[in-house]
Symmetry: C2
Subunit: 115 residues, 2 copies
């Protein structure tokens, strides 16, 4: 079996959250995000990122401002909206709960095999 697929599935659900974390304090345009995440194991492709940013924009989580570049066409710099900050707080909690659950399953089951 190919564990790459399962591993990719794990990443999928966390991508949106990670991108919001990135944008929490620093305005980024698409390539910034790709570059930042490629340093970690949360890789993201163009064809994934642009639709995702548009979706979050449409949902009122993100906003953007055009900004000129010295090396090419202008860029959309994304930041969190106030609503986005609130949603992020909720997602922080979801992440805490879910990761605790997984760690519980991992650790506890090695002991007495019960929840």
């Amino acid at each position: 079996m190919n564990t790459d697929n399962t591993r990719a599935q794990m990443r999928k659900g966390l991508l949106e959250y990670c991108i919001m974390l990135l944008l929490k304090q620093r305005a980024c345009y698409a390539n910034d995000i790709i570059e930042q995440l490629s340093k970690t194991d949360m890789i993201v492709m163009e064809g994934t990122l642009y639709p995702l940013l548009n979706r979050l924009k449409k949902d009122g989580i993100l906003k953007y401002e055009w900004q000129e570049s010295k090396t090419g066409p202008p860029r959309k710099y994304y930041t969190l909206t106030p609503q986005g900050h609130q949603v992020l707080i909720q997602l922080d909690q979801s992440w805490t709960e879910i990761s605790n659950t997984v760690n519980l399953l991992h650790d506890k089951l090695n002991d007495d095999n019960t929840l």
Copy 2:
């Protein structure tokens, strides 16, 4: 925006891993798994679980044995194959890496905003 969806996305990718963790030491049939996971926030539906078990069976990760029940039709009790145990070890590592990455993004960015 509905955070439920994003939260569900987070769960999705971890479901397969969690189910393998459950089956690591104890043989379960479908309802066992649903019941165990419903105690946590890793909820799983019938329509999700059965195809997933079949997929993992087909991939050689799981095997099952029919076992009679006193209260109804016989049950498929699933356990990990030797290959399944090996895959699980890899997934343990993936989970460790990915959760570390998310926690890094969460914590580090609140300090100096760099990776």
